[in-house]
């Protein structure tokens, strides 16, 4: 009993960190542009595929770069892809949140089709870090462990950036009032660029480790993104702190559900929690009323 509790604690901690990463990226974009970016899921998937393409010779015969090089490269590529999505599409329609929301859904669906067309529906497995360790009797793959550590490093850096630096604070400020940000000399273009780059990088990072855990498939993003939604809503849209706390709440709920009730019940308990939280706190744990200016 104690053993399995410990193993739940450890497994839950690993996976929750990735959920937090996804949720934070999603909530940042929402915070800043008022954009509910469903293409975030597509970026997660793209992260995994980019890693495969660069790291393994199964797609391009001649390319098989070392993992240490591929890792930052893939994160960077997804960051840029995210910015590209903003610069090439979202910025033209962001004045209408509904249209933007729909357009990003369409992008996600389209990207999935493209992945299906290119890679088919079979999974492409890869390893980010080989091997496994045993922590307190629970075996943990180095992949998950690395994912956990890097997620927390990323979250920590982001936290410092957002709360302790003017550049970061201006991202939050711009999320509340664009006009206000301009009046105080914030460069909105640079804020947006930074936000989409960071959010994309986070999605790429999460995608790489999710794929390393389970292999890259065209629909690998749907469930994590759904959980990220639950997390973001529970934590409060726009709040990073809320996302982290909710990610752990949901991560542990999921791990518990799976080990106590079985795979089939995944997500169900999380949704119940979501409904309870919303009933008590319609704005989530740390949310603020949704104002759009």
């Amino acid at each position: 009993m104690l053993d399995s509790l410990l193993s739940i604690l450890i497994t839950g901690a690993m996976i929750s960190a990735l959920y937090a990463l996804i949720a934070i990226g999603f909530t940042m974009i929402f915070g800043v542009g008022g954009v509910l970016n469903l293409a975030h899921g597509a970026l997660i998937m793209a992260g995994a595929y980019v890693f495969v393409i660069l790291n393994r010779d199964v797609i391009w015969e001649s390319v098989a770069l070392p993992r240490l090089l591929v890792f930052p490269l893939a994160v960077g590529v997804i960051g840029l892809a995210s910015y590209g999505l903003y610069a090439g599409l979202v910025r033209y329609i962001e004045d209408d949140p509904v249209i933007t929301f729909l357009a990003t859904v369409v992008v996600a669906t389209m990207t999935t089709e493209i992945a299906l067309g290119i890679f088919g529906d079979q999974p492409y497995a890869y390893t980010v870090v080989r091997g496994q360790a045993s922590i307190a009797g629970t075996s943990v793959s180095y992949n998950d462990l690395a994912g956990f550590v890097l997620s927390w490093i990323a979250i920590g850096l982001l936290w410092y950036y957002i709360t302790q630096t003017d550049g970061g604070r201006s991202i939050l400020a711009a999320s509340m009032s664009e006009r206000g940000a301009q009046l105080t000399g914030v460069d909105l273009h640079s804020v947006r660029t930074r936000t989409w780059l960071i959010a994309g990088g986070l999605a790429g990072l999460a995608g790489i480790f999710l794929g390393g855990d389970q292999a890259a498939t065209p629909l690998m993003w749907l469930n994590p993104l759904a959980l990220a939604f639950i997390i973001v809503v529970i934590g409060g849209i726009g709040s990073i702190k809320g996302s982290i706390i909710a990610a752990y709440l949901i991560g542990y709920t999921e791990t518990l559900t799976v080990s106590m009730l079985g795979q089939s019940f995944r997500g169900i308990l999380s949704l119940v929690i979501l409904l309870v939280v919303l009933f008590l706190l319609p704005q989530g744990l740390y949310g603020r009323e949704y104002v759009h200016e």
């Binding site: 929402f30 509910l36 599409l89 910025r91 033209y92 329609i93 962001e94 004045d95 209408d96 949140p97 509904v98 249209i99 929301f101 729909l102 357009a103 859904v105 369409v106 992008v107 669906t109 389209m110 089709e113 493209i114 299906l116 067309g117 664009e178 909105l188 273009h189 947006r192 749907l222 469930n223 759904a226 939604f229 639950i230 973001v232 809503v233 849209i237 089939s264 019940f265 995944r266 997500g267 169900i268 949704l271 979501l274 409904l275 919303l278 009933f279 319609p282 704005q283 989530g284 949310g287 009323e289 949704y290 759009h292």
Partner: protein
């Protein structure tokens, strides 16, 4: 931002000035005599129906009548085309109902739901469960109302808690709701049929012509009913809720009541569509009914047609289904077809965000000029 928006605005206005306006003017020259000829008909229409479904110009009436005639005579012309138009158009009728159902709730109130496929699924699954678990299987006259009721009940179950939430929260929760429905079908596969779903629903008929009319007639009835509602006070209040919910309460109107009502209307519509879809193919399974792709498709249809317009979503649904099942097939292979389809939807979102059919409707309406 403003600068970029301006740039695309400029692009839009150049396109408008050099291409759209001249061609519209030319079209207007050709069309305005027709408009004048049809005007007496329009006047008659406006006198008797105008206050219920909105006023039309001569040409708009002509367009409506032409579309109705075209729909009514499908079995006469569809065989002239290469393709399986009888089936495709029947499918388009069902999806028109879904798109309208989504629109009367999400399009009008601005509470964008990503979970509407769960509502049609509630109806479809109820039909299937009745067929599987009861013997003898009750008649249509029982299963259909019960299934629609089931959609309504689920709609209220989703609507009651989630309509308290503001816009984006509502969208995310409905998105999660539909994923949950999917998980439930898998998790409780003993009762809900799992991945395979059920093949137990009796198909109305496999005869293409009969089947087409069986889908067309309910679709037209739903369209008429929803148009009446949308053009009434209720429609006005729903739009007002989208624009400014506080102003609605200040007007002494209960926003919650109206939002729930729109959800109820929408659920009933989704229920009707769900029952039709179940009896159309006989199969009720997660991929056909539940998965979030189905919700996204109906949204895409409503949006490319023109949100909050009832008739727009019908146009959107027909366009979407025809492109997907017939037109794009002429040039593209299987996965490219979907990519092209979504690309076209994306183009409409960016360049004609108010919807193609709304744009056409207004353009046609403008032909007569300022006769009034």
């Amino acid at each position: 931002m403003s600068e970029r928006v301006r740039r695309i605005g400029r692009l839009r206005s150049t396109v408008r000035q050099t291409i759209l306006l001249p061609s519209r003017r030319a079209a207007a020259r050709v069309l305005s005599p027709i408009d004048r000829v049809l005007q007496p008909g329009a006047n008659l229409f406006n006198r008797f129906l105008g206050s219920y479904v909105g006023e039309v110009t001569g040409l708009q009436l002509g367009l409506l009548v032409a579309a109705l005639v075209a729909l009514a005579t499908v079995p006469m012309w569809a065989p002239l085309f290469v393709g399986n138009y009888m089936r495709t158009l029947a499918v388009a009728c069902i999806w028109s109902i879904f798109a309208m159902g989504w629109d009367i709730q999400s399009g009008y109130t601005g509470y964008i739901s990503f979970g509407h496929s769960a509502l049609s699924a509630a109806a479809g699954y109820t039909t299937a469960l009745l067929a599987v678990n009861l013997s003898p299987v009750p008649s249509f006259w029982v299963t259909i109302p019960v299934s629609i009721l089931a959609a309504l009940v689920l709609g209220l179950l989703i609507g009651l808690p989630s309509l308290r939430l503001s816009g984006p929260y509502f969208s995310l929760v409905t998105f999660v709701a539909v994923l949950l429905f999917y998980r439930l079908t898998i998790g409780f596969s003993e009762t809900l049929g799992g991945e395979n779903g059920f093949q137990a629903v009796e198909v109305f008929t496999w005869d293409f012509t009969e089947r087409y009319y069986l889908m067309l007639v309910p679709m037209l009835l739903v369209a008429a009913a929803l148009t009446v509602v949308a053009r009434s006070n209720v429609g006005t209040v729903l739009v007002a809720i989208r624009e400014n919910e506080r102003a609605v309460s200040a007007a002494g109107l209960d926003p919650t009541k109206f939002k729930l009502w729109s959800f109820a209307l929408s659920s009933i519509t989704m229920g009707i569509g769900g029952v039709l879809l179940a009896h159309f193919g006989g199969n009720v399974d997660p991929t056909t009914f539940v998965v979030v792709d189905r919700s996204i498709e109906m949204i895409a249809m409503a949006v490319i047609g023109g949100m909050s317009s009832v008739l727009g979503p019908i146009g959107g649904a027909f366009l979407f289904v025809l492109l997907r099942d017939e037109i794009l097939r002429l040039w593209f292979g299987h996965s490219t077809r979907w990519v092209m389809l979504w690309l076209l939807v994306l183009l409409v979102l960016v360049f004609a965000r108010n919807g193609l059919f709304r744009w056409i409707w207004h353009a046609v309406g403008a032909v007569g000029g300022d006769r009034k």
